[in-house]
């Protein structure tokens, strides 16, 4: 029998384990995902945090977590996960704590850390098959410092360090593929606006040993410039346009958990975000819009046989 219990929406636990009243922005897509993830992981977790927006969840002497938390640095959260995992294993082996005192070790890092500075530490942790879950909340820029472009910023997006009419000139790094190339136990992309897909994947990761990535695209009202009540809508459009493929890697295979058969034009996703406004105003930039559409079509071309 499979260990997975979540099949339908009604199977998803709704504990609200993560307390409200944090310093996150209204409509934060990362917090939206984290609320749901935490309900599934439960309180016997220690979150190892890398510098980023979520660092402000735990501000002395308060925390929204029922379990534990350790702040580390921008580059080395996976190394802290190693230290904690090893120490818990040692303590259990030496019978200095009971097996019931054990905890799930969870890295919580943004794209700035995960796609860039923290990649060496993450790569090494996966290579050692460290038993941990790595949550990357990806808001496609250095959000906490005011949305400068990062390695996760998509093509043509305007950020506070790519303000020209053509926006960010490079393309988003494929961190999922980088993780998959390491052959981890598991890797999945999720989004807060698809609770069932999210819940199934987080539950799967929770029940596996080894290195597991949960990569959450995190619509960011302040960084992407949209109204805070549109987070869910933008999340859904990211999936429906094919811009954010929902997929998982396990046993050497990548499987798409949701294939948008009739993909909406990327324009629908782009035009409601301030960071892409320059593609439509004052003049429509058909060339750039086509470039973005082309990238998405090219991606799905591999999978639509």
């Amino acid at each position: 029998m499979s260990k997975e219990k979540i099949k339908k929406m009604r199977d998803i636990p709704f504990e609200r384990l993560l307390a409200s009243g944090t310093a996150m922005c209204a409509g934060c897509g990362a917090l939206e995902a984290l609320h749901q993830i935490y309900d599934i992981l439960g309180k016997n977790t220690v979150f190892v945090n890398a510098a980023g927006c979520m660092t402000l969840l735990s501000v002395y002497p308060f925390t929204p977590f029922r379990g534990s938390w350790l702040y580390t640095s921008m580059a080395s959260a996976p190394a802290a996960a190693q230290g904690i995992r090893d120490a818990l294993d040692i303590l259990i082996e030496k019978k200095r704590i009971k097996p019931k005192d054990n905890m799930q070790v969870v890295v919580l890092a943004g794209d700035g850390s995960s796609y860039g500075m923290g990649l060496s530490a993450a790569s090494a942790a996966i290579e050692r098959n460290l038993d941990f879950i790595y949550i990357c909340y990806d808001n496609e820029g250095y959000g906490n410092t005011g949305q400068q472009y990062s390695d996760a910023t998509p093509h043509a997006a305007r950020t506070s360090t790519s303000k020209s009419l053509t926006g960010f000139q490079y393309y988003k790094k494929d961190i999922f593929a980088i993780w998959a190339a390491h052959k981890p136990a598991y890797a999945a992309t999720i989004i807060g606006s698809d609770p069932l897909d999210l819940a199934k994947k987080v539950e799967k990761a929770k029940n596996m040993k080894g290195a597991k990535l949960i990569l959450a695209l995190s619509p960011c009202p302040t960084g992407w410039t949209f109204h805070s009540n549109e987070t869910v809508k933008i999340g859904k459009l990211a999936v429906e346009t094919g811009i954010w493929p929902l997929k998982e890697y396990a046993d050497g295979k990548i499987v798409h958990t949701k294939i948008p058969r009739e993909r909406k034009p990327v324009e629908e996703y782009l035009k409601i975000q301030g960071r892409f406004k320059h593609l439509f105003e004052p003049q429509r930039n058909d060339k750039l819009i086509a470039e973005i559409q082309n990238e998405v079509d090219k991606y799905w071309g591999h999978y639509n046989h």
Partner: protein, 414 residues
């Protein structure tokens, strides 16, 4: 107890073994690597129980070390030079975790130019990191200081990580006879690891190293850290007393060699102090009242002890094996600060020497002694000196000549 010929590296590793460490996160770097190789071997053969893991960098290594200490195990690690600096962000960060563990630094000069040989710019770059610092000058001390470091770090009044410093090559690769304490006695000396109120356990939530948003909360924690570090002075003395009773070797915060009743003293740190001892012996034979003060603890800085030991001396020469460009020697600066309100303070003269493993010769010590005497007589201490001989300059010029450096400079000008 057994007596063995050990390198400084092996002695430091023995210290960790006798402390019965649970966890060693590691990363290789010359001249430290022998320490982690030795420990890895002991974990493999079962002499040590727990885990040895190689991380992707010293930055990660220090993060893993401190996180394991927060979880509640006894941790040891080692690094050197560029590795220490690569880890420095985390060294500053994790000293604020307020959990005990021990890191050995094998001193090596910093780039650029890149070198493998010893000086103290690496360890002094971390002087304000919040780690305590103990400095060994012999292989025996390398072992003993690691043991004492655990006791000091784990003391409830301190609860701070400690760096034990040994010099690259001069200690790391030099074999000396070392008395290895009996395992059971060493364990009795250190005791079982006690995590106190910091550990990660299911159903015992702990938020550690959380952000603060106010200067007053930040200041509160930083002041606590500082006050705990200062406690390490008396804790060191208590630990040394216990150590002497159990192992019959006596360690003071500042080693005083023939300094009692001396008019002139050398002030040093690390293995080169043994060269100064030899010079002191010769000077004494020639009738000069010269001695040596060697700092064993550098953080916290044993200020009161230093004032007491320097009281009434005519002149003191601080020989720094480090250089803060644009300022000078670190130990000189700190010693001068300690003395600034003292009435019977000696003239203080600054010397920089021994950079990148450069020798400090007996003749240089004799020359320094002459300058101390002259300073006391004329009441005019000389300017800071950079030790470098004409022969050395000639040798450098010769090398440059072989490489055609001068010629290239000429060509560039034309």
């Amino acid at each position: 107890m057994k007596r063995k010929l050990l390198t400084g590296n092996a002695a430091a590793a023995w210290g960790a073994r006798l402390a019965n460490v649970d966890y060693v996160p590691a990363f290789p770097i010359t001249p430290q690597t022998e320490i982690i190789e030795t420990l890895a071997g002991w974990f493999d053969e079962g002499a040590l129980k727990g885990r040895f893991v190689t991380l992707d960098s010293e930055h990660s290594m220090v993060t893993a070390a401190a996180s394991a200490a927060v979880t509640g195990v006894r941790v040891f690690s080692a690094t050197s030079s560029q590795g220490l600096l690569y880890a420095s962000e985390m060294l500053y960060a994790v000293s604020g975790y307020r959990v005990p563990w021990v890191l050995v630094n094998v001193s090596r000069g910093l780039s650029s130019p890149v070198t493998l040989e010893a000086d103290h710019n690496d360890i002094f770059a971390l002087r304000d990191s919040g780690f305590l610092q103990l400095h060994a000058s012999t292989c025996q001390e390398a072992l003993d200081m690691v043991l004492m470091a655990y006791q000091i770090a784990e003391d409830v009044r301190v609860r701070l990580p400690v760096i034990v410093n040994i010099d690259g090559f001069y200690l790391s690769f030099t074999r000396e006879p070392v008395e290895i304490p009996d395992e059971n006695k060493a364990r009795e000396f250190i005791g079982e690891f006690d995590a106190h109120n910091i550990s990660f356990r299911a159903n015992v939530p702990l938020s550690h190293a959380s952000a603060v948003l106010q200067g007053s909360i930040y200041s509160y924690f930083r002041y606590e850290h500082h006050l705990a570090a200062i406690q390490a002075i008396s804790v060191f003395n208590e630990s040394a007393e216990k150590f002497e009773k159990m192992f019959n070797r006596s360690y003071a915060l500042i080693e005083s060699y023939m300094a009692d009743g001396a008019d002139y003293v050398f002030i040093m740190i690390g293995s080169f102090a043994t060269k100064a001892k030899e010079a002191v012996d010769m000077l004494r034979e020639a009738g000069s009242l010269t001695g040596l003060l060697r700092l064993r603890m550098f953080r916290p800085f044993p200020e009161e002890e230093m004032k007491k030991l320097l009281k009434g001396k005519k002149a003191a020469a601080v020989i720094d094996q480090n250089l803060a460009p644009g300022k000078g020697g670190v130990i000189y600066t700190e010693t001068a600060a300690a003395l600034c309100n003292e009435k019977e303070a000696p003239f203080l003269i600054s010397y920089i020497g021994g950079l990148g493993g450069r020798d400090i010769t007996a003749e240089e010590f004799y020359e320094i002694e002459k300058e101390m005497r002259k300073a006391a007589e004329t009441k005019k201490p000389p300017m800071a000196r950079l030790l470098f001989s004409e022969a050395e300059l000639e040798a450098v010029r010769k090398l440059q000549g072989i490489a055609g450096v001068e010629k290239k400079n000429e060509q560039r000008k034309n």
